[in-house]
């Protein structure tokens, strides 16, 4: 598996819909893509050398795949150690090493590791987006029941995960917090934090009201609806073109995805 036959590399999970779309788009365009599935590598073995050279590899049931320094690459590195706890150390070590390898890769890397991670802290991310001049709805994040009720009283409100691990969100009202009052008193410190955002009128119709108070009673519970945002001109096909064409728009914008 030498480097000459490939035009780009892709690193991620085959179960990741975005990665699957990317690979499909590359195939449709006739772009030879060498894909490294992170889950297979963790399961079958890997060796990564820093600084990057041509002797790093990952294993699959079909054989060894060399990592190709300098080949244009697209990566979506996801550490599944938080879910696959039995192999958490392997996941963390592999994704950390691969992250270092890709940060130092001499080629063009879309979403090169080392870029900002603040999307995993929504209150911080929103503050930064606001500083950049974007219009970001007001928000409150915390565990204080009276403040959560106060924010919900002031207008239509959604609750969504602070860390972005579960991207679904749902509408909440004062009643949601009233319904959880007994649990709040019984288990101080166990409930929350909850991230509340003011629902903007443009997206209001996209998010149905759900009467369940699951999110309030148990902030670790799953949420109910998942509005999807599609950016015009930023679909997988567009991304393949970006990876291939260094003269295209800068990576900086892609890192916002």
């Amino acid at each position: 598996m030498g480097g000459a036959e490939y035009m780009i590399s892709a690193y991620g999970l085959i179960n990741d819909p975005t990665m699957r779309h990317f690979l499909d788009a590359a195939r449709t365009r006739g772009v030879a893509t060498r894909f490294v599935d992170l889950a297979l590598a963790v399961e079958c073995g890997w060796e990564i050398r820093l600084p990057p050279d041509e002797r790093s590899w990952t294993n699959t049931p079909e054989g060894r795949i060399p990592l190709l320094n300098g080949l244009p690459a697209y990566c979506r590195l996801i550490d599944l150690g938080s879910i696959e706890t039995q192999s958490a150390a392997s996941w963390h070590a592999f994704t950390s090493a691969l992250s270092g390898w890709l940060e130092l890769d001499t080629g063009r890397v879309v979403n090169r590791p080392g870029h900002p991670q603040d999307n995993a802290s929504k209150p911080l991310h929103e503050a930064i987006l606001a500083r950049m001049g974007l219009e970001v709805p007001p928000s409150f994040s915390g565990s204080g029941r009276s403040e959560l009720i106060g924010f919900a009283e002031q207008g239509p409100t959604i609750a969504k995960a602070l860390c972005g691990q579960r991207t679904d969100c749902r509408r909440v009202t004062v009643e949601d917090f009233a319904a959880g009052a007994r649990d709040w008193r019984k288990r101080p410190g166990r409930l929350g934090p909850i991230g509340q955002r003011r629902l903007s009128s443009r997206s209001q119709r996209a998010i149905p009201r759900d009467q369940s108070s699951q999110f309030v009673v148990s902030p670790t519970g799953r949420c109910d609806c998942s509005p999807r945002i599609h950016l015009r001109g930023m679909g997988p096909s567009h991304l393949v073109a970006r990876v291939l064409d260094p003269g295209n728009e800068s990576n900086a914008r892609l890192q916002l995805l």
């Binding site: 950390s96 995993a120 802290s121 860390c163 934090p193 670790t220």
Partner: protein, 252 residues
Amino acid sequence: MAPLIIADRPDPLIEMFCDGVRSRGRRIEWLDFAEAANLFRVSRQGLTCTVYPDLPTILRLPHSDRAWDDADQQFHRAERRSLVWAAAALMKSVVINRPNVHGFAACGSSSAHVIRHRLGLSVGALEVCASECPDPMGEAAHWWTESAREGFARPWHDSAITGPFRAGAVHADDEQSLVIVAGAEVLRAPTHQLRQASAEACRKLGLGFAAVSWRRRHGEESLLRVDPHPRLDHVAGVEEAVTDALWAVLNT
């Protein structure tokens, strides 16, 4: 209100620091990440962010070695960490090791190569990360490995049974230095050059408290690691100076 420490327990270095502060007749409040997440409120209206409470804070890295057997618990923990991350990043008070857009370790990394790259330093010696114990590159006597499950390095012939591993060459005549940067103080630096270089590295990485490892080989200094979470044994012999330096930062 007293300054805050946010650190998961146990943390022997923070115990030492709290004992030192209290022996000086001062007050300090120690919260773990769950307690801190229960306390903090972050509200934002347009460009105006308000963090409550907004107090001088020492922030340690959250513990990552707990075995979570429940995905919901893991999610809840991530939620708590996200709120503490935002609160510490956005509060106006001084925060020692304030997180930034890159996370709790600011611009730090566990890889020496990545750190060197971010600091604009030249490429260092080969570092091998692997699922199985990697065979020696060069003389076996110089090849050391570190198991992720153990967290410390051993000679290759004495390697741990289970990985994953990091490996690299260590020569018998290598000299290593561990410099402590605590606020404005740079402690245990063997030379003026390392004193300045350690302070500069921490400044660039956004760290106010760190242990900076250097290796001297054939007369040349090489940065090995910038640890944003110094342990108690890292500051052995300079505990008082570290306590004074960190307390001084909290009171600026």
